[in-house]
């Protein structure tokens, strides 16, 4: 039987009276690209934050790589091979692009007291980090302060860091938003490359066209609940999804002219 890499069961997160996520189940199989879709406030990012350990779930269970992980702190999950990006980018602004990636490379050192005293700017480390930067297309900017980069490059920097940390699973939180057309297609290629490296990808996307093209399967959330799950075609023809998501879009577009 195929073992899922990530599995969430009955996941719930309540903020006071607000049920941001209210009983969501899904699983991500090894090697697939799964997209989480949904309108604003559907609970996508809250789900991400529970999976990556930033929030403790109110209820439900999370299994990552066969271990139960709900309630573990983010740095533990990172050590288990889960990398993530943030929708609102969080670069280490006064460090250079290269140093940003080197911070991620330290994942092999931070957990052991004796390993944190070695130098981080060694030849091997820099070469490895440059390799990643080349993959995401930031190599020429390696020496630039991260705080000076435009948004598109910061999104790629986030992905570069997530690629180093996420040996098994990478969570991408709206990595396409705010990107120009050319940047979008390059990022699509990058995500396919990541999958070819054997890394599983879970992504949150607002942009329907992108996720339909990229994802093997899609989970649609609305108001903290799972509305539908399936392939792009299945989702596109799902009546509920059309109602809740596409319909609303269309109506809005129509109203907006």
């Amino acid at each position: 039987m195929k073992q899922p890499l990530l599995k969430v069961e009955g996941l719930r997160k309540h903020f006071g009276g607000l049920k941001a996520v209210d009983g969501v189940d899904f699983q991500v199989d090894r090697g697939e690209i799964l997209g989480i879709l949904g309108p604003n406030g559907a609970g996508k990012t809250v789900c991400f934050n529970m999976i990556s350990g930033i929030y403790k779930p109110t209820g439900g269970r999370i299994f990552f790589d066969r271990a139960r992980t709900d309630g573990l702190p983010p740095f533990r999950l990172a050590a288990m091979g889960l990398g993530r990006t943030f929708q609102i980018v969080k670069p280490f602004t006064s460090l250079t692009v290269l140093e940003n990636v080197l911070v991620a490379r330290g994942i092999a050192h931070y957990g052991r007291f004796r390993r944190i005293w070695g130098p981080w700017r060694s030849k091997d480390q820099v070469a490895a980090a440059m390799g990643i930067l080349e993959q995401v297309g930031l190599a020429e900017l390696a020496g630039r302060k991260a705080g000076l980069l435009p948004l598109g490059n910061l999104r790629r920097l986030e992905i570069a860091r997530a690629m180093v940390v996420g040996r098994k699973l990478i969570l991408l939180d709206e990595s396409f938003s705010g990107l120009r057309h050319g940047e979008v297609s390059r990022l699509e290629d990058l995500i396919r490359t990541i999958r070819q490296m054997g890394i599983t990808v879970l992504l949150i996307e607002h942009n329907l066209r992108v996720s339909m093209k990229l994802c093997d399967r899609i989970v649609v959330l609305d108001h903290g609940r799972k509305l539908a799950e399936g392939t792009a075609e299945q989702i596109q023809s799902n009546q509920q999804v059309i109602e809740a998501y596409l319909g609303r879009r269309r109506r809005k577009n129509a109203a907006g002219g």
Binding site: S52, G53, I54, P73, P74, F75, A78, A79, G83, R84, F86, K90, P91, F92, T93, S94, L95, E99, L102, V103, A104, G106, I107, H109, Y110, G111, R115, I116, W117, G118, P119, W120, R121, R161, V164, V165
Partner: protein, 294 residues
Amino acid sequence: MSGYLITIATIVVINAIVVCGLNVIVGYAGQISLGHAAFFGIGAYSAAILATKAGLSFWASLPMVVIISGLVGLLLGLPSLRVKEDFLAITTIGINFIVEAVFLYIPFFGGALGIGGIPRIYLFGLKLKGFSFFLLCLAFLVLVMLACWWFARCWAGLACFALREDEQAAASMGISPVRFKLLAFVVGTAMAGLAGALYAHYMRFISASDFSFPVSITLLSMLVLGGMGKLWAPLLGAAILGALPEIFRPLVEYRILFYTAVLLLMIRFQPSGLLGDDSLARKVLARVVPGGRS
């Protein structure tokens, strides 16, 4: 060198060591501490008590003093680092007031009279005073600065930088915020403890007011003036703020006003300090010294 100059230079070097510790906590790890004088005091009081009550020599007590300071730093850091930014600032102010009160009101620490009769330091049978004591302090400063230099180059330091910039992003890269903040706190307080031991054996008499809250502010001013997170900032800041009052001795009446005005102007117009990346001083220097890094 005249005795007067040596005295000032010795105090500057001791202060620079304390500020190096503060730099690790505030400059490297980004954890504001407004109570650093408390740890300076804990070092000085441990050294004084080990010397006068237990009769230990400076060299025998030094490792203990550094360990005690680091441990107290760990103990007080644990609850402090659970809170963030503003809370941390206030908590560290609180620690300073409480530690000073403990020194002042508990008879074991000499109470209002402080502790006197602290012996001088001997090295190879040689009594260190004046210039030789200054050299000893300088040697320790070199050691501490080497430690800081290394800290900025090892993974632990990089983890601290990441935490300073963005805690959530750092945590998503495997960095335990609590563990590395505590590490920086312990390293910083241990350095303050070392400086405290030197101070106690130099002054040979210490009292609680030597480590009061305004001292913490002075230490922080030195760091801000030099430039947070820069290796040479502690020495530069300690030297400038240590020398200024002496240069302006005729204006002794306006000394503190001048001091605070410098601090205010600095923080208002150049919060990254003299050695900061975008500082005016650095730009001027880059123009004067061709080929210097801008």
